[in-house]
């Protein structure tokens, strides 16, 4: 397995992990909101938003100039 293929697989795995982390963080945020833990809810929702943004940013296509 070449380094390029290995890095691609690692990137795919990180991508999926970020997506799953975003789902889990959103769920924890809403769960905390139900338990009246507002600050924790905001924390988890922010973490979820950043995770999801990172996951989608990794899917951007290659720049055309390259």
């Amino acid at each position: 397995m070449t380094d390029r293929v290995l890095m691609s697989r690692v990137a795919n795995a990180v991508n999926l992990l970020l997506f799953l982390a975003a789902c889990a963080s959103f769920a924890l945020g809403l769960y905390a909101l139900g338990d009246r833990r507002d600050l924790q809810a905001i924390y988890w929702l922010v973490v979820g938003g950043i995770s999801l943004k990172a996951a989608t940013d990794m899917l951007r296509p290659r720049a055309s100039g390259r």
Binding site: R4, L6, M7, S8, R9, V10, A11, N12, V14, N15, L16, L18, F19, L20, A22, C23, F26, A27, G29, L30, Y31, L33, G34, D35, R36, D38, Y43, L45, V46, V47, G48, G49, I50, S51, L52, K53, A54, A55, T56, D57, M58, L59, R60, P61, R62, A63, R66
Partner: protein, 236 residues
Amino acid sequence: MIARAAPPELMPLSERTRVLLPGLYAWLLTVELPALSRGARPLGRVTALVALAALVSGLFMVGGRLRLARGLAIYGFIFACAVTWALLGGELSPARLDRIRAAAGTLGWVLYAFGWGRIRSAHVPEDAPNAVLGAPLAARSHLHRRTVPIAVCAVVAAIGFEALAFRVDRPEHAVLAHATATACALLVLGASATLALRQGTRSDFASGATRLNGVAVRGALLSVLFGIGLVWAALR
């Protein structure tokens, strides 16, 4: 030479019924019944009736003018419903809402929205006069094996978000929780669609190292947030 305009598209009876029944159901449960409650303002009852008139007239009275029909039965109907809700004010507070009725009304609104979609006609495509006959075209690619699990995961997560929002029992926070849950569900579903369809299409991607470097800043930010979270949890 000016081309003759195409005849207006007719809305079939089945399509009208598919929109009218859920629309009436949603209107009755979420607009009319709250508007008929004792404390409701009379103007709210009037706008509720205007909403009904917009829905029915949009679907039945404008004949073949599909654009006008949709303008009345979608924008006019929803706008009048929204005005009614605004006029009802405290009658719609979560403390006074019947949860079962609200959930059933939500289902009615979902069906109303889906009712505007069109079902593919039952005729055989090859029978169309403009069809090019020949060997069936093979698909250029197949879905990756991870595509379906990602989509299923996103749908389950979206339903879970909506269910978790119902745990919030504080009236003011409940509205925020439902809005947040809906936003999270939409974001996750949208991201999952992109993620699922990009599985196995390496040619469009930058290299793995470039992709990892591209999220380095957000990764660092997440690490800092997790660190803060750990310290916070340890101090509590």
